[in-house]
Amino acid sequence: MTSPLLRAEGLVRRYSSRQGVFGRVVPVRALDGVSLELRKGETLGLVGESGCGKSTTGRLVLGLEAPDEGHVVFDGAPMPASNTPEWRRLRARMQMIHQDPLGALDRRLPIGVQIEEPLVIHGHGNRPARVASLLDEVGLRPEHAARYPHELSGGQRQRAVIARALATEPELIVADEPISALDVSIQAQVMNVLADAQARHGLALLFVSHDLRVVRQVSHRVAVMYLGRIVEEGEPDAVLRDPAHFYTRALVSAIPHPSRRDAKRIVLKGDPPSPAARPSGCAFHPRCSAAIPACAQQVPELKLRPDGRKVACHLAHGETAAALQRAA
């Protein structure tokens, strides 16, 4: 096995949020020890509810923000501090695709100019030909280069953003909910553009989404996040077929399925989670149907199971789990 292109270890990100103008400052752990690895040509899907820290993870692995604890290693070298010259040079090798293509594009410049911009910044030659081939690759016509973002459809804009991200032939792309702002009818097309590009260039792709089904289509591995931690990680088909963590089970059961009636659907009880008031032990225990007393006290570690799945749940590791369950 080759060494991974990207390795993140124990990433912790705290924000402070002030409650009211004169209120006290409350520390919020948006990320609570996230580790992940990504090899060349591999797609890792990162799934979770909004606020679970999946976007923050994306920003940290790109070095857009510095972690409070832990570190990111890219191609064997530590991530340089943001906005330094090395950091800027490294941008040619890693790129990001945002959720909202209209926001990510400058509304005052034609998209051709914007696709060319990373080439200008990183001093590439033969730019017009490169822009033309990028447009072609993402399925835009040459005349689109002269259009302004507001003159394009949502799908076309996201194609332009993808073209811009591919311009410097990066090795890593983080796509943060790249299709969730688009019409359902064009989501699949844009998804295909991204998947094709990933396969053709052998990209490492970190695909961040709240939608397990979309992640399953494109990912080689999938990681499920809950309140700033990865709770389960494994092959997408296996995870969907047989989810191990109770949170993943709830997510999977929420997917509408033609052959299944809603009888088996798990409806999460309790309040949606807030990282400002993190439950003790397993953060999911207040909403978990199978919680045992140990869940409220011990934080479950993300451990490898014999079948290759990683799960952070007291009840998901065979014998120990059974023992704990009987005791409860």
Binding site: H98, G103, L105, I121
Partner: protein, 290 residues
Amino acid sequence: MSIALSPATPVATRKKRGGIPPMVAFALFWIFAMLVVAATVQWIAPYSYTALDLRARLQPPVFMGGTWTHILGTDELGRDVMSRLLYSIRLSLLIAFGATLIGAAFGTLLGFLAAHLRGFVEQVVLALADFQASMPFLILALSVLAFFGSSLTLLVCLLGLHGWERYARISRGLAISASAQDYAGAVKQLGASPWRVYGRHVLPNIASTLIVSMTLAFPEIILLESGLSFLGLGVQPPETSLGNMVGYGREYLTRAPWILLAPASVIVLTTLSVSLLGDWLRDRLDPTLR
């Protein structure tokens, strides 16, 4: 303080969104005429602004019984009021333009610096902006003039400091919101240098807001310059500006009110026109700015 000098636009004038209201049309016409005068004064002025005619002192304008040789009459040294007025328009407009540009450039630069560096620099810029906004600018300007004496360059730079804090606040706020999640952040993660992010992306995007602020600041600067020149502390003779003409005309208020009335009405009409235009532009381009 901006709220005192650019209060909210009267709701009544907002009715017509499509066409140009007659008042604004007049304002545009007047501003255009002033610009033409400023550009062509050396060809259209009948006399030099320093040319004396001691035999024709204090002659009234045509409509007060004067002759066509001096349409707007002459002053105490027999200088043609019309010619002096035209040259004054040019100098006053040049000073106001220069000062407005300096203020906008300086303020925007500081605003961007504050937004980019945050932390201590941002606090210093904000504290200076608060200070600038809370001290009456006329007094600060007068003390600088007292220390350095008056020269045209100093005057332009000094007036350029007026209102910098508004551009600084606007550009800081917009730059922070732009770099937080939007296009500026996207460009930054492409590997662009701060110069590129601010110069090529943020600045063009906030230009319309800055231009509106400049239009609102312009009449204030005309008023300041004319006030200082009226007090004899702005533009110095033999150069002539609108305020300067009013100041000297004041001595002859009883015998020759025309010397003073002509520049006074140009000041009022010009500030009125630019304010009207500024209010109108603000409503059309940037309703968020108040």
